[in-house]
Amino acid sequence: MVQFLETTVDKFTFKVATDRMYTRAGLWAKHESGRVRIGLTDFLQQRSGDVAFAEVKPKGTKLSAGDEIAVIETIKVDTILDSPVSGTVVEVNPAMDDQPEVLNLDPYGEGWMAVVEAEDWQADSENLLDADAYFEIMKRQAEEEAANL
């Protein structure tokens, strides 16, 4: 059972799953026996808005951490998403093609984007944030955005 950290800012509630690592930009990376499952955080999906299209780099694509792994087009913005890890894309969520709304509906579950065969998870994870650290950054980001509304 996944545990969540949770905060409410203005009228919005944001969750952070405690069982994975994060980038400051709002992607999560979950290590699964040498492979890393990647997706969007709840905060990023809410801030971005309803996803119209999601284009994820195809299976077999070799990536370095920081390379573009996906582009999402929402009702508000087009966003380029950078891979949190180096490695090779070994799986792409088929729902990205025909049901990209799962990114909004279940960002930490069915809304995962891709699985990457990590080259060096240990090294990449040192550049990622744990859930507590990301939670604090996300809260500040949310509060700043609320103040600017």
Binding site: D50, A52, I75, E101, N104
Partner: protein, 158 residues
Amino acid sequence: MNEAKKVVIVPCSGIGKTYGTVSREAAYEVVEEMRPDDTQLVALSLLVLGDEDARAAVATHPAVSIDGCKLACATKMVAESGGEVAADLAVLDVYRRYRQFKPQGIAELNEGGQKLASALAGEICEIVDEILTNQGLTNAGEISTKQPASKKSGGSDA
């Protein structure tokens, strides 16, 4: 014009949002140009305010709601106003079918937005025609005893 044959069109009222503008432009196109004799526009804001005429319109006619986002305010307000949502359309779902028409702009839509609104208007007209056919309404405005069809079209992501 026979009021009995009107289908009510209720677009999103999202001001300052591109998809809301697309929903309203499509509704205007349907009501003013494509099906002026078969449809009437009801402003969502009037339903929110509890306007009696607006509530009566949705309570006595099948309604097609057009939602600009997953909050689905138009669909919800029709139901809360005692109306029957004969069909609900979400702009996002329509855009997914017409990716070449990327909408931008708010007060004024870009060309993609205008084309998306026209595509949406076309889909609304198909639904209006189907509702009228299922109701057994004729050009003379006669109403049969058939009940209006309940159609989920495109689906709202709310």
